[in-house]
Amino acid sequence: MKEIKLWGRGGQGAVIAAEMLAAALATDGKWVAAFPSFGPERRGAPVDAFIRFNDKPITTVSEIKAPDCLMVLDRVRAVSTPENPEIKPDGILIMNVAMDVEPINYQGISVLGRVDGTKIGMEEIGRDISNSVMLGAFAKTTGWIGVEPLLECLDEHFAGKLLKVNQQCLKRGFEETVVTRHQGDV
């Protein structure tokens, strides 16, 4: 079983991202369980989303503390991500960060994926909504799901022009994510 945690803020589509990722994994033959955790339901408030997937049914409904993969959708939460994030040993970290800044030397991870989700979101959608970009980053960095199943799941949530721009975001997220592998940071 693999555990994924998303960090976002209200209004950026973190919850939809978790639903789409779960749906894509399910079409790939996986059993999934995904749900959000948030306090006040308003734009800007922190939103966590948890996704579990496995080859057999999942009954667990607890929140994920140390995931196999932590993905930070929001720039502000990225800035406040600690250098030793709570993640399984040799876990995967995926960040929405500015690419012209020196990457932080995160401890305890095996793979780091970085993409400027905010910039791509602004260019394609005109808003700081990085969720589709980060799904592409997820596919690139983890290799746990292909881009095609993710693109198919966009159909369930978007139509017309919104579907097109989100497809663009997902593809650019996949193409533009820079993946670095860390050796022996623990």
Partner: protein
């Protein structure tokens, strides 16, 4: 009416699963008011209605009190109804809620559980269901999105059974199930029609314009007590009926959850946990892992909470060395959880004296996680070995 096939495997939330089940049951009337974390049930039902899948009169009421009033009127006129609410919405609905029970209206209602406000929260809890547990509705608790769908369908077959005729709450946690996305198999219209077909031959008295009749008349003393006596008898019959319905559901749809209770590795267990609701699902892998380490633990998951399955619990706990009850609710007046108290009552009635320890956890969205559950099992094992143990432990605070 369009009968497009909506069946198949889907990846949906608990609220969507609930909505699919309601759509398949094809109620005559849905009257409901939105409230977090139930709102997306209504959004989904509205979509189904717009797609022409539901021949249902939607009454967009101005509040939960009217929601129950509308359902009550429709139900006693012979209609199949549905509503849903949580917490403060239920509080506003209370007046009608009690009316529905006293009038034996077979309404099915999703209770998307939230904790009680003050301090303020909209987070997951069970206290709203607990608040109304003794007001005469059947209450059944789900563990998964699939079970939510299956229970809503079973609920209609139970509620409208002429030997039952009681309203039914299908209770499931807000957030942890309402917004939980899981793989769910949605059956087809024909299959659900077939499962509910035994109800076709069952007549019930309904309010109509041809036969002058009193409804919810003013009654006192002996006659009133006879109403309550019969209500209790209906509750008693509903236990057996629920067992039968679960068997029939398993036969037709291939999914089985046990009956009034679900027993998980209880047979050879030394100690048992007793839980109710979604967090039982978290406990199952913990039990598995602890068994691998040599701890013979098992779990009783209470599904039918009202009426309370005292016979089944007495049978399942027989011969065990200790019991730990994890309550996701609190009875401040007894300084314990509610399920803990009711299991103690079972022991009193059946004359058993198995040592018990109560745990409280998960109030207002608190996470009943693997660590807490493992600790609860360890403490229960300690109790079985004669270790001095507190009567109540708050897992998040101690």
């Amino acid at each position: 009416m369009q009968r497009e096939d909506i069946s198949g495997w889907k990846v949906i939330t608990g609220n969507q699963a609930c909505a699919y089940a309601v759509c398949l049951a094809r109620p005559d009337v849905v009257a409901a008011y939105p409230i977090t974390p139930q709102t997306t049930i209504l959004e989904e039902l509205a979509k189904f209605s717009n797609q022409g899948l539901m021949p249902t009169e939607f009454i967009t009421v101005e509040g939960e009190n009217s929601a129950m009033g509308s359902c009550l009127g429709a139900s006693i006129s012979g209609g199949r109804t549905f509503t849903a609410t949580s917490s403060n919405g239920l509080a506003f609905m209370y007046d009608g809620y009690v009316f529905a029970a006293g009038n034996r209206a077979p309404i099915v209602m999703a209770l998307v559980m939230r904790d009680q406000v003050a301090p303020h929260c909209v987070a997951s809890g069970q206290q709203d269901a607990i608040m109304v547990k003794d007001q005469g509705w059947i209450q059944i608790f789900a563990e998964s999105c699939q079970e939510i769908l299956d229970l809503i369908i079973m609920a209609y077959r139970l509620a409208e059974d002429k030997d039952v005729l009681l309203p039914v709450n299908i209770c499931y946690e807000g957030f942890f199930l309402s917004y939980m996305t899981q793989n769910v198999h949605v059956p087809g219209f024909e299959e659900v029609d077939q499962f509910l077909s035994p109800l076709k031959d069952m007549d019930r008295m309904t309010w109509n314009l041809e036969t002058p009749m009193g409804f919810s008349s003013y009654i006192t003393g002996d006659l009133f007590m006879e109403y309550r006596y019969k209500h209790s008898a209906a509750f008693e019959r509903s236990k057996e009926r629920f067992e039968d319905i679960n068997k029939a559901f398993a036969d037709q749809f291939g999914r089985s959850y046990g009956g009034q209770i679900q027993e998980y590795k209880t047979e050879d267990a030394d100690v048992l946990l007793i839980m109710m609701g979604a967090s039982s699902g978290t406990a199952k892998p913990v039990i598995d892992a602890m068994r691998e380490q040599g701890t013979k633990a098992g779990l009783i998951r209470i599904r039918m909470f009202r009426p309370f399955p005292k016979e089944k619990i007495a049978e399942a706990i027989h011969g065990k060395k200790a019991i730990g009850v994890i309550d996701k609710n609190v009875n401040c007046a007894w300084n314990s959880g509610h399920v803990y108290l009711e299991v103690q009552a079972v022991q009193g009635i059946y004359g058993t004296n198995i040592p018990m320890v109560g745990f409280i956890d998960g109030l207002a969205g608190g996470d009943i996680n693997e660590e807490h559950i493992e600790r609860a099992v360890d403490i229960t094992v300690g109790l079985s070995q004669g270790k001095e143990t507190k009567e109540l432990i708050w897992l998040a605070l101690e």
